[in-house]
Amino acid sequence: MRGVRALWWREIIRFVRQRSRLVGALAQPLLFWVLLGGGFSASLRPPGAPADLGTMAYFYPGIIGLVLLFTAIFSTIVVVEDRKSGFLQGVLVSPLSRAGIVLGQALGGTTLAVSQGALFLLLAPLVGISLSAAAVFAVIGVLAAIAFALTSLSLAIAWRMESTQGFHAIMNLILMPIWILSGAFFPASGAAGWLGWLMQLNPLTYGMAALRRCLYLGMPDAVGLVPALGPSVAVTLLFCAAAYGMAAVTARRSR
């Protein structure tokens, strides 16, 4: 456990010392939000979204999801860099198991993602959300689960990668679509048939649903047609376990 904690701590300390990462992970989603939310005028309101919910408000949970995704990607790029720099080799010959190494990395990434996602919660009043203490706790719990799943998934990819270039390509092909098709952008109910199916199969859809339901805790009407909280949380936890399992197995096979 000491080793896991050390790797987690290292992720945090590195992040604190490279503030540009903070800007990257926060500014880009913020920009997306303003441009996309502003660009899609009320007339282009996401089909199937609740009628009284503006575009900016609809995108808000999705943008928090994007913050988590970017942070997850940033922190797993460290794995590829560590392999290149040689640091990873030193970790690999230590007695810490591969599963433990991945856990340390995933928890580090999760911590960073949740803290940045939580910063975005400060913007909630802008879209008319007033969060109760219970809602804040629930939201942070959901953010942690989503972040852990996304970080683990990125780690499963990163552990296979030799260079950061290949990593970016795969990230764009796998992780961005997962986000786009999670209901962050448009609800499944309004999507074309096959797309709707894809969205229902996408585990992140349930993470986003859980996030929406917790942001609007006690106001189910404001959420629209998304999966219920219980099943969403259950699927998200399964997503965590599956993604972590994948990353651990990948790491064990890696040299």
Binding site: R2, G3, G90, V93, S94, P95, R255
Partner: protein
């Protein structure tokens, strides 16, 4: 420092390798290596890049599972129980394994935790090692600000922090100036003598190879010779004379005809191994006065041993850093 060492090992063999083979797809990196390294010796693995040295190192470091043959490190099977080996093994890679964004102390703390050492214990050991290696004053500097030599010392501190019984070092002194190289090696000798640590290292430097208890030459995936530096040099016997001739190829034939020995042409100079070298020097200069630029005469070096075994040169002269392999 004695507190850092675990109990004295009972067994006498630190590494036992039998019939180790390794392939990368089509390419064979190791073709049947047999080697025993004793506890408490400094063993040097030498050989040109691409000869299989690095693969052997990775197998011993438990980074690569042995494909064929058996490898026991500290009496544990490397294929079946790498995790049992790792705790007792210190590894210093050629490539830096430090995090430049962390301070020296933080790097060591991280490493201690990876080996399950508690905060206080890790700190005590780190402080002792930093003191011993002359790093105490730089403990709170970021590793990326250290010179190459200092960074190598931090690598060594890291590799020794958990009190390993066996230390593997891949080209540990590459990039160090000769003085720093000697200091580094003296510390390895100290570890062997005072703490009974077994040291296995790869090197490109002949002076370093000379100071090893035993060395093994790896060439094209095979171990071509193992022994003490003195024994290996004695195998050549006699002297080595190097003739730099104006026309080396012609000179080779003329020496062969006149003296009945077969010089080896390598890098534009002729090497002759023979029992009474001083007489040959006199005779060859008298026989072909205008055709010889210089003649050097000496007892065989490890370089001569390597040339003798493989027909290739290997050691770097210390000025040029070897390429990574």
């Amino acid at each position: 420092m004695n507190a850092i060492r675990p109990l004295a090992p009972a067994a006498t063999t630190a590494i036992a390798i039998a019939g180790l083979t390794h392939r990368y797809g089509e390419r064979t990196a190791l073709r049947g290596i047999d080697l025993d390294v004793r506890r408490g010796e400094i063993f040097g693995v030498l050989g040109p890049n691409g000869g299989g040295k690095t693969t052997l190192f990775k197998v011993l470091a438990t980074l690569v599972a042995p494909q064929g043959g058996r490898v026991a490190v500290l009496d544990e099977d490397a294929a079946r129980h790498p995790e049992r080996i790792r705790r007792r093994l210190g590894v210093v890679f050629q490539q830096p394994a430090l995090d430049g964004k962390l301070t020296v102390r933080e790097n060591l703390a991280c490493h201690a935790a990876l080996y399950g050492l508690g905060g206080a214990e890790g700190r005590t050991r780190a402080a002792a090692l930093l003191e011993r290696l002359g790093l105490a004053e730089r403990a709170d500097d970021f590793v990326e600000t250290l010179s190459g030599g200092l960074a190598r010392r931090v690598e060594l501190a890291k590799g020794l922090l958990h009190g390993p019984e066996l230390v593997l070092l891949d080209e540990p002194s590459t990039g160090l100036d000769p003085g720093a190289r000697r200091d580094f090696f003296s510390y390895l000798v100290h570890l062997r003598d005072r703490e009974g640590v077994t040291v296995v290292l790869t090197t490109h430097y002949m002076e370093e190879a000379e100071r090893c208890d035993r060395i093994g030459f790896i060439h094209q995936g095979s171990l071509v010779a193992v022994g003490t530096p003195a024994a290996l040099k004695a195998e050549i016997g006699g002297d080595v004379v190097v003739v730099d001739a104006v026309d080396p190829e012609a000179m080779r034939q003329r020496i062969e005809q006149s003296f009945g020995c077969v010089p080896r042409l390598l890098d534009g100079v002729l090497r002759v191994e023979l029992p009474r070298g001083h007489e040959f020097v006199r005779d060859v200069v008298e026989a072909f006065p205008g055709d010889i630029r210089s003649v050097t005469y000496g007892k065989p070096t490890l370089e001569d041993v390597f040339v003798h075994l493989t027909g290739e040169r290997f050691f770097s002269d210390g000025a040029a850093a070897p390429e990574k392999g």
